[in-house]
């Protein structure tokens, strides 16, 4: 990505200097979103249970 002259060189430089912080924020958010997605993907279990109760 840093090799692309089409991206802003200053922003690329700031990202390089703060990479760990920015990347950690990204990784934490995506890990949380993955948990939400996995819970969502298991919806059919919840659906079946709900219909039994109904």
């Amino acid at each position: 990505m840093a090799g692309s002259g089409a991206l802003d060189a200053d922003v690329v430089g700031i990202l390089k200097r703060s990479y760990d912080k920015v990347n950690q924020a990204r990784a934490a958010a995506q890990a949380a979103a993955l948990q939400e997605f996995q819970a969502y993907a298991e919806h059919t279990t919840e659906l079946d249970q709900d219909e039994v109760e109904g």
């Binding site: 990202l15 920015v22 990784a27 969502y40 659906l47």
Partner: protein, 370 residues
């Protein structure tokens, strides 16, 4: 900035419905029509203003749980099973997506049961008080799929009326069928659904529930919308969350203040809104995309821009969110903006999108280790 701003819920819902309806010509305006027809049926029944508008909102969102184009097209068939099976999965998934946002709780329950047959409604334990509204949505949805969009509409009305009447007491509540029968004799009802005035009419139908979102609510709803966008494919399931977080963090490193950083997170949640116009089958294709498929993918930022343009108070957020595939040398897309147009916020978003994308798996490659 974001904290003091207010946003119209109706504008956001209309924008989302519009984006979802872009996925196929067969679905153009489907959510808007169902919202409007639901509102008109509720009016015919004499329901209170607020409930009518909530039904219109549920119509705008009713298929938000149908992840793939195949699922969306499948439910265009008139009957999907007595207990809603076949249509029930996407209805339930829509409910699961929408229910975390408290303001949409009733709407989520209507979405959940919008394929439930009336004769089975008594077996259903969840929110019996909303079953009439859900069944009303069912009538509106099924009426819309009976219309042949390639033919003049008024000539089709007697046939549609008979199909709906035949389901009184089965798919639909007899009271609702009676209300539909009365409504169906008004030419204006049908002409409204096919006219270019439809978006204006739908906007008006939401007036009875004119909720203004504060900055926190708008941010929370935008996060919810990002799941509607991203959960359509496991390859994109966490993308907007990653872009939002990395863009916010990078904005802080670039000297943005706390309020602007929150705006950047908001822009990250919304930056791929236009991907709702891209069939999930393309997002998940495990082989090289054809030129036509690639063109569909590339259109997503155009749709993000045009949809966000319809929401008041989002000009800056839009310029950050929608230009993430533009490049300083003008070789990006779709507007080919260059460094004279692209703000620092847009440049940060482009960087955050690249950073997030390279770490994610795609159907044709594994993600890179950060």
């Amino acid at each position: 900035m974001l904290a003091s701003q207010h946003y119209q819920l109706s504008e956001l819902l209309l924008g989302l419905a519009h984006a979802m309806d872009l996925v196929s010509p067969a679905l153009t305006n489907h959510h808007k029509r169902v919202g409007y027809m639901g509102y008109m049926l509720a009016s015919e029944l004499g329901l209170p203003d607020r409930e009518r508008s909530m039904i219109a909102a549920a119509g705008l969102l009713h298929d938000s749980g149908a992840l793939s184009l195949r699922e969306r097209l499948d439910v265009l068939q008139f009957e999907v099973g007595p207990n809603g099976r076949g249509g029930n999965d996407h209805a339930y998934m829509g409910y699961v997506l929408l229910r975390p946002f408290g303001i949409l709780s009733d709407v989520a329950h209507m979405v959940r049961h919008h394929h439930l047959w009336w004769e089975r409604a008594g077996d259903c334990c969840s929110r019996k008080d909303l079953l009439t509204a859900a069944n009303l949505l069912h009538v509106a949805d099924r009426v819309d799929v009976l219309v042949d969009r390639g033919q003049e509409i008024l000539g089709q009305v007697p046939g549609i009326r008979e199909r709906i009447k035949a389901q009184a007491g089965r798919m639909f509540s007899p009271d609702l069928v009676e209300a539909f029968d009365a409504l169906s004799h008004r030419e204006s009802f049908w002409l409204d659904t096919t006219s270019s005035y439809l978006p204006t009419l739908v906007r008006g139908s939401l007036d009875g529930w004119s909720h203004r979102l504060n900055g926190d609510e708008f941010l929370a709803l935008s996060k919810l919308l990002s799941t509607v966008i991203d959960f359509r494919s496991r390859f994109t399931a966490t993308h907007s969350a990653g872009v939002a977080a990395s863009a916010e963090a990078l904005a802080g490193e670039c000297g943005f203040g706390p309020a602007e950083c929150r705006m950047m997170r908001l822009a990250g949640y919304l930056h791929d809104l236009g991907k709702l116009a891209v069939p999930a089958e393309i997002l998940e294709k495990p082989a090289k995309l054809s030129p036509e498929e690639f063109a569909v993918i590339r259109s997503h930022t155009y749709h993000t821009f045009r949809v966000l343009q319809t929401i008041s108070g989002l000009d800056t957020v839009n310029s950050w969110a929608s230009f993430h595939h533009e490049r300083l040398d003008g070789k990006g897309y779709p507007f080919h903006h260059g460094d004279d147009v692209l703000s620092l916020g847009a440049r940060i978003m482009a960087m955050a999108d690249v950073l997030t994308a390279v770490t994610e798996d795609r159907p044709y490659r594994a993600g890179m280790q950060p």
